[in-house]
């Protein structure tokens, strides 16, 4: 599995600055840091060969002309002189980029990192796509590593004289109609019918927000109605199933772009989640989803069908007391807690009969049940683990102390600053610094993960070769790495279509031998 984070980006001293330009500044700032640390190139071209964003998992594909331009994610975004000239009328950002370019480095829109992640400009946001991990705990660690990378880029920009500071926010909306995602990706066998996946997941996705939502102040896409809600993303969803990710957002996204052997795998692209600052919320989000997917694979998922999933998603999100009930097609009305209980109970039963039960799954199951128990007895007892509860508790206490309600602009500012990734400014981080947010990984572990890949997926190969042979890696993608070998006439493109190969167990020893590049490629090919 892997997690994507699109960060909100703001240069407070330059209102209206071009967002693509600011995002490029973040990417290039990180590239400069890596260069400074290693004396080698950091930016690697992304290889778009195997990107097929218009393929639909239901078995058809749409043509490019009828696609929304934002769906064409297999084209390198261009940042040219014209774009620089259009940068909000302010050339400071652009000129810094040109200075980097003049120093012998081109302006980067894409990087592959030494931990196997991709850091790039996606639409108008800097995005970190984590390396592939084999379990939810590792997914949490390498997701946190993305925040570490983003913070490092931001700090470097702060340190440059004459360059405006850039703030990055791990959130999902500007409360002015725009939403951006925190996507999850799960590798699944293609043999599982897509309709089973959709049917099994919809009621789960509609209700899982109560254990892993990030909370939001304001309701409606424009935040036009006052009040606190559980999920940051809920109000931006309009359909049950579909291919789009930027318009008419569906609860189940059908993009069929496995980045792996097509006939063997599908990559389930989940777009409904909130970006979590909290480590336990991220664990619950990915861990419970992985559990439900294994139930769907095994045919043990509960059979629940909601009358109106999109309306249910929003009704649940709008009620932090968790008492709202939603209607099932069989006429029953259940709360989100009751639906989650049904899934958790089925997962416990499923795990009890499974012969391949790992420690991570047992721990996720335990935390899932514990969280539901807390939310049933006293919502605020989940404040150290569930992001929306922590945020809601802090805001409620602030509102009480100052005698204001949730329409106050300071509460809106708290909502935004909750997600500021700087430890001294981010309200999540201020709470965590007081020991009020439970964590799984220390700052040292997260910093290590920002520079080193997971060891048990193909990300290991990608990250290790970038760390070890940076000057010879000319392009990379999820399913390939291309090398230039001195003296050779053609590029050597190494396919990594099998996500569970390229691991430390398989290539660690070869890499440890520190061969010359041509010997290394020859050994790989043998």
């Amino acid at each position: 599995m892997g997690l994507e984070t699109e960060y909100g980006v703001l240069a407070p001293s330059m209102p209206g600055a071009n967002a693509t330009m600011l995002s490029a500044q973040v990417i290039n700032s990180y590239a400069a840091l890596v260069r400074a640390g290693r004396g080698a190139i950091a930016g690697t071209h992304w290889d778009y060969t195997d990107e097929t964003p218009l393929n639909d998992a239901r078995g058809f594909s749409i043509d490019r002309a009828s696609a929304d331009p934002s769906q064409l994610t297999d084209q390198e975004p261009e940042l040219d002189a014209e774009a620089v000239a259009l940068a909000g009328g302010d050339t400071r950002i652009g000129s810094t980029l040109y200075e980097e370019a003049e120093a012998g480095h081109e302006v980067l829109m894409n990087m592959v990192l030494g931990n196997g992640a991709r850091l790039y400009v996606d639409h108008a946001h800097p995005e970190y796509s984590s390396p592939e991990t084999s379990n939810p705990f590792a997914a949490v660690l390498w997701d946190q590593a993305g925040d570490h990378v983003a913070l490092a880029a931001m700090r470097r920009i702060e340190s440059l004289a004459g360059v405006p500071d850039i703030h990055l926010y791990k959130n999902n909306t500007d409360n002015k109609s725009v939403s951006y995602g925190a996507h999850e990706n799960y590798l699944m066998p293609r043999s599982v019918p897509f309709e089973n996946i959709a049917a099994g997941l919809i009621p789960f996705f509609v209700t899982r927000q109560i254990i892993c939502g990030s909370g939001r102040v304001g309701r409606g896409m424009l935040g036009q109605y006052p009040g606190f809600q559980i999920s940051a993303r809920a109000d931006f969803f309009e359909a049950q199933i579909g291919l789009e990710t930027t318009i008419r957002r569906p609860i189940i996204n059908t993009r069929d772009e496995p980045h792996a052997h097509w006939e063997k795998y599908r990559r389930l692209h989940v777009i409904i989640g909130d970006a979590n600052l909290g480590q336990i919320s991220t664990l619950l989000r990915t861990g419970t989803t992985a559990l439900v997917l294994s139930m769907i694979e095994a045919g043990t998922a509960p059979h629940i069908e909601l009358r109106d999933p999109v309306a249910a998603l929003q009704a649940i999100s709008h009620d932090p007391s968790l008492s709202t009930t939603v209607e099932l097609v069989d006429g029953r009305r259940l709360t989100a807690l009751q639906i989650q209980r049904i899934y958790a109970a089925a997962a416990a039963e499923h795990s009890a009969t499974s012969d391949a039960l790992d420690e991570a799954t047992v721990e996720v199951q335990r935390r899932w049940e514990e969280t539901l128990q807390q939310l049933e007895t006293d919502i605020f007892s989940a404040a150290s683990t569930v992001d929306w509860v922590a945020k809601y508790k802090l805001m409620s206490a602030y509102a009480q102390r100052h005698g204001v309600d949730f329409s106050d602009s300071r509460i809106a500012l708290m909502d935004l600053q909750w997600a500021d990734i700087r430890p001294e400014k981010g309200l999540y981080h201020r709470l965590a610094a007081r020991g009020m947010m439970e964590v799984l990984y220390s700052g040292e572990q997260i910093a290590h993960a920002a520079a080193h890949p997971p060891e048990d997926t193909r990300a290991y190969f990608r990250g290790r070769v970038l760390n070890q042979y940076p000057e010879f890696v000319v392009a990379a993608s999820w399913d390939s790495v291309s090398f230039t070998v001195p003296g050779a006439r053609r590029l050597e493109r190494v396919s990594t279509l099998e996500p569970l190969r390229g691991t430390r167990a398989l290539v660690g020893e070869l890499l440890d031998r520190e061969l010359e590049i041509h010997e290394f490629i020859a050994a790989l090919r043998s």
């Binding site: 703001l10 639409h123 725009v178 930027t246 932090p320 949730f406 602009s409 300071r410 600053q417 201020r430």
Partner: protein, 61 residues
């Protein structure tokens, strides 16, 4: 939106408003939260309304 849906939504909103108020009281006092609230004026950006208004994002997924 039909009249019926409209009033249903209003009912839901009124109900949610009440529960919000109840929860504000239930949040109660907590040493760690209080401690953060004591310093929060120094943490929050100046001019809340303007700062929030200035946070405008372009399209995203």
């Amino acid at each position: 939106m039909t009249q019926e849906q409209h009033s249903a939504q209003r009912r839901e909103e009124t109900q949610a408003q009440e529960t919000t108020e109840d929860l504000n009281v239930a949040a109660g006092q907590d040493a760690g939260v209080d401690d953060l609230l004591d310093e929060i004026d120094g943490v929050l950006e100046r001019n809340a309304e303007e700062f929030v208004r200035g946070f405008v994002q372009k399209g995203g997924q």
